[in-house]
């Protein structure tokens, strides 16, 4: 553990900065809420033409299921996301060397950014 401490104390110096950032955050939410409120959706209609779409952060999953036809659906729908999440969950144990600098842990960097890139890539693909 690091023992170096900055000369500034948490209170009030950092607490002030945190409060400023919290204020900005809430401000951003309020501005977005005023400018782009969600519309009332269409009422459920079983006979209307409709192509459903999940929330944007699930688009990658939705796209992933496209690649696994037939009885393999569960691979895209459950298995791969499950493996992805397990890797994420166990990251500190898989990447357990003492080195903290990203340059000195290339495998972790490759896996981490690979995972991120595939999620972003799939999301992009479904937006096309």
């Amino acid at each position: 553990m690091r023992t170096t401490k900055s000369d500034k104390t948490f209170f009030p110096y950092y607490f002030f900065e945190i409060t400023v950032i919290a204020l900005f955050t809430i401000e951003a939410v309020l501005i977005l809420a005023v400018l782009f409120p969600p519309a009332i959706g269409r009422e459920i209609d079983f006979s209307a033409q409709f192509s459903p779409r999940p929330e944007w952060y699930f688009l990658f999953l939705y796209e992933l299921t496209k690649f696994f036809p037939g009885k393999w659906t569960f691979v895209g729908a459950v298995l791969l996301p499950g493996i992805g999440f397990s890797v994420l969950l166990l990251a500190p144990f898989l990447d357990s060397g003492g080195e903290r600098s990203l340059k000195k842990r290339p495998v972790a960097a490759a896996v981490g950014f690979g995972l991120l890139a595939s999620v972003i890539g799939l999301t992009m693909l479904s937006l096309l």
Binding site: F46, S47, Q49, F50, S51, P52, Y62, T65, K66, F67, F68, P69, G70, K71, T73, A77
Partner: protein, 142 residues
Amino acid sequence: MIKALYGMLALIGLGFLFAGLKVIAPSGRQDRELAWFPLVPEDDVPRSGVKKSELVYAVSGRERKARVFIVASSGKLTVLSAVCSHLGCLVNYRKESKEFVCPCHGGKYDIAGRNIAGPPPAPLASYPVDVKNGMIMVGVKV
């Protein structure tokens, strides 16, 4: 005494777990029976072709709706569910290619409802059909 304490705690825990699982598990009846519901008059269906329709049926008094396709080809009448067998989106009929196409992941079915392309694992479900007094009746398991 410690043993009795742990025993009691385990008993309370298991009791809540058992009751909880009983409550969470869906209580739907498993023995579904076939019931017949009217769809459209026979005269409304073309001799050959596909007609989109809405099936209104009831499950234990509650009204439900399902989108179906009435397919008439070579003198035979079939009623296909429009629910894609992949992930449950509603398929659309393409007249030009005589195919059903799912808007979600591009699954394709031929006019008999057989899955021919894309991710669907099974054909479109077809309902039992009967004609009574000029009315097309459809059997639904409720």
